[in-house]
Amino acid sequence: MKVEIIVDDKADDLHISVTCRQLTPEIEKLLENLRMMNHQLTARKHEETYLLDIAEVIYIESIDRKCFVYTADEVYETDFRLYELERQLEEFGFLRISKSFLIHLQKVQSLKADINRKIRITMSNGEQIIASRQYADELKKRLGVM
C-alpha cells in the first residue's frame, strides 16, 4: 500500500483519492471512517448502502454484535462495532449510556431519574432508553450536574 500526502496551501478543500484494483472490506472500512469525518455514516438496509447524515441519527443499538442505527423513520445496520462508533461519534455529541446503546444528545427529548440511580431517557422519536447506573454518572458528568 502506498500512501501519498500532498500539502498544498492553494488547495480549496481536503481531497482524498483512493486507487485500488477492487473494493475489499478493509478499503470499505477505511472509506466509512473517512465519510465519518464528513459527518456521514455508512449503513445498510435491504442490501442497499446508504450514507446517513450523522445529525439525523437518534441512537444506535447493539444487538448480538450487530449495530443498528435509528433515525426518525428508518432503522439501518452498520458494520461498525459499538465501541468503534462510541469513539468516532463522541465529537458529534454521541454518548454511551449502557452496554448496548449509544445516544445522540441533541436528540434527547427529556431525562428523568429512575430507580437505582438510573436515568430514563426519552428520545425525539418517543423511544425510552434506560441509562445504567455507571453510564448515568457519565451522562451527568457530561451534562455538568455531577
Binding site: G93, L111, K112, R142, G144
Partner: protein
C-alpha cells in the same frame, strides 16, 4: 457495565435498618420503658433496654424489608413497574410484615387501639416524610438535568 451489588451491600442495608430501629427503640425505652413494661414485650425490661429475643425479631424484619427492597426497588425481579406502583407494593408489604410480627410476638396487645393508632401514625409520618423528601429530590434532580441538557444542546448547536 452495570455495577454489581455483593451480599455485603445487602448486609450493610440490613444493618442500617436494624441499627436505626434499635437506636430509636432504646431511646423509647429510656423515655417510657418502665411505664410500658407490663403491656409490651418490646419494653419487658423497662428502661434497661431491648430484650435479646426482640432484637432478633427486629433483625428478621430488617432482613425481610431489605429483601422486599431488592424485589421492588431494583429491576432484577420486576423489570417494568412504575415507581408509584413499586412504592405502594413496598408500603403494603411493610405494613403486613410489621403487623404480623406485632401479632405473632406480642409487641403490644392487639386488642388495644391506642398502640395501633401510634403505630400507623409513626409509620405514616415516616412514610409521608420520606416520600416527600424523595419526590422533592427527584424533581430537583430532573429539573437540573433538563436545564443542563438544554444548555448542552445550545452550546453544541452553536458549534455546528
Amino acid at each position: 457495565m452495570e455495577e454489581k451489588k455483593t451480599v455485603f451491600d445487602y448486609l450493610a442495608q440490613v444493618m442500617i435498618i436494624f441499627g436505626f430501629t434499635m437506636l430509636m427503640l432504646n431511646i423509647f425505652c429510656l423515655g417510657f420503658g418502665d411505664s410500658a413494661r407490663d403491656i409490651s414485650a418490646i419494653f419487658a425490661l423497662g428502661a434497661q433496654g431491648i430484650p435479646a429475643g426482640i432484637s432478633f425479631q427486629f433483625l428478621c424484619v430488617s432482613v425481610l424489608l431489605t429483601g422486599a427492597r431488592y424485589v421492588f426497588f431494583t429491576d432484577r425481579v420486576i423489570k417494568k413497574m412504575s415507581l408509584w406502583s413499586r412504592t405502594v407494593c413496598m408500603l403494603t408489604f411493610a405494613i403486613i410484615l410489621i403487623a404480623a410480627f406485632i401479632i405473632l410476638f406480642h409487641w403490644f396487645p392487639v386488642d388495644m387501639w391506642q398502640p395501633w393508632l401510634m403505630f400507623f401514625l409513626c409509620f405514616g409520618v415516616c412514610f409521608v416524610g420520606s416520600c416527600a423528601f424523595v419526590t422533592l429530590k427527584e424533581k430537583t434532580e430532573n429539573r437540573r438535568m433538563e436545564e443542563a441538557l438544554r444548555r448542552l444542546k445550545e452550546t453544541e448547536g452553536k458549534k455546528k
